[in-house]
């Protein structure tokens, strides 16, 4: 029985491995369009005082679980009647994280900046690589892109990670139980 179990497990691991190799994509920040010269940067300060500088063109960003981010953004071509959105890409779904506009921009502003505290709820989000996408679009044109944000920490550093690992072991054992032949009614031994 153990040999059969090992072969079934090896088959599953092999299939997942093949799929990973086929679908794996390099982490990168990419402007898919940038007609108006969008730029952005941030300095993230973790609770322990360590700082990380991020530019919109960086390949990936490591985000601490808590702290604050001093951000600034600019466009070389001032836009009017503009709007924008930042979304989290989860499998094939897009989850909106924030949006701005529509705004006439009567004051012809071409820069924006501020400080944002990293939400405490982020500590409970499983660590991992999250792909964010966003766009800013107005009458004069727009820009869009995506970036990989890596949440720093160990997979077991929060409850979600521990529950996920324990759940894998438990449901894996239940699958093995389901795959176990049971004695048919009326069987003669």
């Amino acid at each position: 029985m153990r040999r059969r179990f090992v072969s079934v497990a090896a088959l599953l691991i092999g299939l997942i491995g093949c799929f990973l190799m086929v679908t794996a994509a390099p982490a990168a920040a990419v402007f898919t369009e940038n007609q108006i010269g969008c730029q952005g940067s941030a300095v993230i300060t973790a609770d322990d005082g360590t700082t990380t500088s991020v530019d919109a063109k960086d390949a990936s960003v490591k985000l601490p679980g808590s702290g604050s981010a001093k951000w600034s953004g600019a466009i070389t071509t001032t836009t009017h009647n503009h709007s924008g959105e930042v979304k989290l890409k989860l499998a094939v779904f897009d989850i909106g994280l924030g949006s701005w506009g529509p705004s006439k921009n009567a004051g012809n502003a071409s820069t924006a900046s501020g400080t944002k505290k990293i939400p405490s709820a982020l500590k409970q989000v499983p660590v991992g690589k999250y792909v964010l996408s966003g766009f800013h679009r107005g009458d004069e044109g727009g820009c869009a892109g995506h970036m990989t944000v890596e949440l720093d920490g160990s997979p077991t550093s929060n409850a979600a990670g521990i529950v996920s690992l324990a759940g894998t072991v438990l449901t894996g054992a239940l699958m093995a139980l389901a795959a176990m032949a049971r004695a048919a009614k009326g069987a003669v031994r």
Binding site: M1, R4, F5, V8, L12, L15, I16, F19, L20, T23, A24, A25, A27, L88, K89, L90, A91, V92, P126, V127, G128, K129, Y130, V131, T148, E150, P155, A160, G161, S164, L165, G167, T168, T171, G172, L174, M175, A176, L177, A178, A179, M180, A181, R182, A183, A184, G186, A187, R189
Partner: protein, 76 residues
Amino acid sequence: MRRHGRPVLGAIAGLFFGVFLAFDLLAFKAVASDSPLLLVLPVAMLIVGIVLGVWAPLRRGPAPLAPATPAAPTTD
């Protein structure tokens, strides 16, 4: 006699196994959040669970032998 396992248990366990495995792959940074694998795994494992439940490739150990019944005394 045809062997059979537990397809319903296999389906439920497979679905959740896929969901948890997807979270593990995300947490261990093996895949990014936009990977279609996060959606494919639960569906694939649901099917694998049903197949394993119907196929039942794992055998239980041999049943314990019944105690030997003493032979009835013969009277000649």
